[in-house]
């Protein structure tokens, strides 16, 4: 199904708004992931950035269940994101069931999770590839070339989001911001564990509880996650056991 110009314009307006307002990198990357997965005919999308060790780390995804987290994590060593990151070009795979030789660890897991196609687009910053935009589809088949251009544009938008601070002419601020975001992700995982233990639920369920709370109260997930593990009394409705 072709993407309507109107729908695309809506996405870019949302992006522009985010860049102007009080900017939070994790929220921004999450927004790009969600918009990508709903705009293009794929089930899930995720954004990964390379850390200081050159390892791809998931920053945000349209679906954060453990099964998806594992699919992204496998790609620190093997998979379309790894190939995209190293080669600097988009990687398109039309049929995961035929990719067992190429990605012996990743392909079977992705198929087991219900996916049939996978693609990765590079996040490019000047001469460097700094990450990847990863798409998972339930249908076999390559992407429409028109869609490919749009997704690359979304990947470029994600990169621009990393550069939104004017002071960021220097490389230092990008590094600082990336480190902050990487650490913030760790805090979110710590908070999932804490909430899972408090409420006697799985970490996946804990993430839903956390996200719902943030949506209802219009607060950033990074901030709430931090409070959950440092000062839970700030959010008693979230951190008091429910039974």
């Amino acid at each position: 199904m072709p993407i309507s110009a109107e729908r695309l314009a809506q996405v870019f307006v949302r992006v522009a708004d985010t860049l102007v307002d009080d900017f939070d990198l994790l929220d921004f990357l999450h927004m790009v992931s969600v918009e990508t997965s709903s705009l293009v005919d794929v089930r899930d999308a995720g954004l990964l950035l390379a850390d200081h060790r050159g390892r791809l780390q998931l920053m945000a995804a349209s679906d954060e269940r453990t099964q998806m987290l594992e699919l992204f994590q496998v790609q620190t060593v093997e998979g379309p994101c790894q190939d995209c990151f190293r080669g600097g070009r988009a990687v398109v795979n039309a049929d995961l069931r035929a990719a067992g030789d190429r990605w012996p660890r990743f392909a079977p897991r992705a198929v087991a999770a219900g996916f049939r196609s996978v693609h990765a687009f590079p996040l490019r910053l000047r001469q460097e590839v700094i990450g990847a935009l990863n798409l998972f589809g339930e249908d076999v088949g390559a992407m429409d070339p028109a869609d490919m251009s749009i997704v690359q544009a979304l990947a470029d938008v994600a990169t621009i989001g990393l550069l939104q601070e004017r002071a960021l002419r220097r490389g230092e601020v990008l590094s600082e911001q990336l480190q902050a975001a990487l650490n913030s992700r760790v805090v979110v995982e710590q908070a999932k564990g804490a909430l899972a233990q408090i409420h006697g639920i799985s970490t996946d369920e804990a993430f839903i509880v956390l996200r719902d709370y943030c949506r209802r109260h219009q607060v950033r997930i990074g901030d709430i996650a931090l409070a959950v593990v440092t000062d839970p009394t700030l959010h008693p409705k979230l951190t008091t056991p429910t039974h």
């Binding site: 060790r53 994590q73 600082e176 995982e189 710590q190 804490a194 233990q197 408090i198």
Partner: protein, 257 residues
């Protein structure tokens, strides 16, 4: 790229002990500071160690002058170190002179008086657990190259490792896979950390130390232990003592001993 931690750990293992070094983890941190200074390179490197309540309990450095510069920050309550800790991100200042008078009115002049022209501070943290901060300074206004910055971040990971260890496994075998455990265990490790924190009613830092202690005692990969905790196949016990994550720093041996 993937072997940077191994390469830098070996460098660290080769750093000689000096007479007058602190014993145990304090000395290990001093050696780390000296290795970092040599490697980046930098004029001086210091690590401030935090207690649970966020106050500095020890300062270790590559040399006495760097100790003094580091302590100034916390004495005046401002500077790249305190800022990196508060913001939970590195603070990179390739030219202190560029900052003007308003950013660090107390620290700025004192640092310049000590000959500091650029400074780079790295929080030593695992998510919300803040264990300390590492400050790197140079006597010329020069940014860290991308390679040096990447190395500094790996050294910060190694410093976190040392701080989590506390008194434990002090003379650890450089071939030990511990750092790789922390890096390679993935998201389940942080989830397990949060669970243990609540289960045992301890700090996040202590929760991590207990997970590692269990993995070490059982000779199992840390990632597997964490996966068991998250899947509720394993519950860590409250009564097993763990060497202090406060990173108790003992004073150096007195002369003649």
């Amino acid at each position: 790229m993937g072997d940077a931690p191994d390469r830098l750990r070996l460098l660290l293992a080769d750093e000689p002990v000096l007479v007058g070094d602190h014993p145990h983890s304090g000395g290990a941190l001093q050696r780390l500071c000296r290795t970092v200074a040599r490697q980046l390179p930098a004029t001086g490197v210091a690590v401030s160690v935090l207690s649970l309540d966020g106050s500095v309990v020890a300062t270790l450095a590559s040399d006495p002058a760097s100790t003094a510069i580091e302590e100034v920050q916390f004495a005046v309550g401002e500077g790249p170190g305190p800022e990196a800790l508060a913001a939970r991100r590195p603070v990179l200042v390739p030219d202190l002179a560029e900052l003007g008078r308003t950013r660090w009115p107390g620290y700025g002049p004192a640092a310049r008086e000590h000959g500091v022209r650029s400074v780079f501070a790295f929080p030593l943290q695992v998510g919300a657990a803040r264990l300390g901060v590492m400050s790197v300074h140079r006597d010329e206004a020069r940014a860290l190259s991308p390679a040096a910055l990447a190395d500094a971040l790996v050294f910060a990971d190694l410093a976190v490792d040392l701080l989590l260890d506390g008194q434990q496994r002090v003379d650890s075998d450089p071939a030990s896979p511990l750092v790789n455990d922390l890096l390679g265990a993935g998201f389940v490790l942080y989830q397990a950390q949060g669970m243990v924190m609540v289960q045992l009613g301890v700090s996040l830092g202590e929760a991590m130390a207990r997970l590692r202690a269990h993995a070490f005692a059982e000779n199992r990969p840390l990632g597997e232990v964490a996966a068991d905790v998250v899947a509720r196949r394993l519950a860590l016990q409250a009564d097993r003592p763990v060497a202090g994550t406060e990173g108790r720093i003992d004073p150096p041996a007195t002369e003649g001993s």
